[in-house]
Amino acid sequence: MVGSPVLFVAIPLLAAFIIPLTGMMWKNSVRVIPGLVLAFMFFLSISLMGYVNEHGTIVEVLAGWKPPIGINLVFSPFTGFLTTLMTFLGFIVWLYSYKFKRNVDFEPSMKYFMLLMLLVTGSVGIVLTGDIFNMFVFIEIVSISGYGLTSFYTRRDSAEAAFKFLFMGAIASTFLLIAIMIIYSQLGTLNIADIAEKMPMMDHKLKVLSLVFFILAIGVEAEIFPLNGWAPDVYTEAPGPIGAAFAGIVVKAAIYASVRLVYTMYDFSGAFDLFIIIGLITFIMAETTALRQDRLKRMLAYSSIGQMGLVMIAFGIGTKEGVYAALFLMFNHAIIKSLLFFSGSYLVFNKKNKYIKHVNGMGKYLPITSVLFTIGAFAIIGLPPFAGFWSKLAILTAAADNKMVVLIAVILIISILEAVYYLRVVNRIYFYDKKEKTEPKKPSLNALVAMISLGVIVLVIGFYPDLISGILDRAAADLLDKGNYIKDVLTLNK
């Protein structure tokens, strides 16, 4: 084994403390070290994935206490896939924001990169941990660094967005705690595998109550419909790359948490239907709201929420094809939405309020960025030969195999709306005349590299989906095999 999963948490936390010290000696270190840490995490997760493929799930025990008492980290094909995706995106976000425009100041850039690192760490922690209270702690780490990053610009509206986020986040964390305590008082354990094993013993009413509280709490982070009022505000007001980080990393972690609840911990089959209902309502509400947005990032935000609704639907289908589709959607969404946020930020760079009309005629001034945005838009609509098509085909096939004809129809109808608002932007980029005199800002080299690498992934996966389908298959099989998870953790198959 190359390293241990515990490094995913230990190294970034250590680095977060060291950065202020090294910053005193070498100012650039506050930017370089987080990048190195994120790159390290990415390579670690890749090498661990290789190990897991050969030897099976890694269960790492912290501080010598064996489960179910101690905290353990589980690096399985499923969590490993998400970890790899998140750390990769974390690294790309870092790369994109390396020459951050506020970087003239030492303080803000230090805070920015530290918080970004913590955001990624927290999300990875949520995915890896096998203990629900530990998960709560990681969720709080993510939330608090999220509040900080949202209010990063000292503009008037960013504080508002951050406060809304905090308001919802605080309520969510309260209910999460209550749910955890209900479980603990009934089953006397906090270990997910142990809970899953003992769940049939639990009182039915309390079981429902705790699940409802869990869904409420995690739903806030997962941006499901009535709980996502904060999300568009945060995406709009946070710095551009952070929008990508939220869409690509944080939400994925939250979706993971809810999936873990429904697939592993609880044994309600009705929860799958709930997933479909919630996902469908989220999808419809978000996509219809996105239709008439006048701000680019807000539109992307609603689109992102809608996509997560689609992921929920796919998880709610519950078959292996459904999980496969959901994971594929998550992967595509992470890559494509980041690409859109990245390139979109440059298209409306330095414009007040970042209206969609600011992209007018940018195709001439920022050709590469515009092409990348267009590729992203086409991909997220699900046009072949881009990556988005395969995931759309996967979810529709999964739904069709379960005879959900109405669901397919609704998804497709709403997809048309999605196509409409994305194409309206693309049309503006290429076929409208630029009104303002100000010269648009050219992307710096590091940002360009980040965007192009995402664009290349979109194209490569689009032309050759097999590159990833094997990994997704294993991950889906791993998630569905509940007994194996319990066995792995409780008997410490190391």
Binding site: F133, V137, E140, S143, I144, Y147, G148, S151, T154, R156, D157, A159, E160, A161, A162, F163, K164, L166, F167, G169, A170, I171, S173, T174, L177, I178, I180, M181, Y184, S185, L190, P232, D233, T236, E237, T289, Q293
Partner: protein
């Protein structure tokens, strides 16, 4: 004695739930940002109390294995909720601090503390 214990139980759980309800009421109905933050804080405290109450044991001792104390295992209070509540208190404190700093910034920008007047980001 049993009755007394019951009443105590009800009192503790009841006050925890009551605190939570008060906090929730404050957070959901009061228009002042400060009061909302206070409400969230009270809500948190209620949950913490609830957590402590779950681990409570009548006449229990501190969960420390010391010489001469090995046989008192079954009358020790459950240590895990206490550990958890400590963590939760710290996190709650952090969140409250962030919230208050945001409130200060909101007040500077908007010159008001009414949450229904701070809604530039919508739809």
């Amino acid at each position: 004695m049993e009755k007394y214990l019951n009443i105590l139980n009800i009192a503790i759980y009841g006050s925890a739930v009551l605190l939570m309800l008060i906090g929730l009421y404050g957070a959901l109905t009061k228009k002042s940002l400060i009061k909302i933050v206070l409400g969230l804080s009270i809500l948190d405290s209620g949950v913490h109390l609830l957590m402590i109450a779950i681990g409570y044991l009548k006449d229990g001792t501190a969960p420390i294995f010391s010489p001469g104390n090995e046989d008192k295992m079954n009358i020790m209070v459950d240590p895990i909720p206490q550990a958890l509540v400590l963590t939760a208190i710290v996190i709650g404190f952090g969140v409250t601090a962030v919230a208050l700093s945001l409130v200060i910034r909101l007040y500077r920008h908007h010159n008001t503390l009414r949450i229904d007047e701070i809604k530039k980001l919508k739809w």
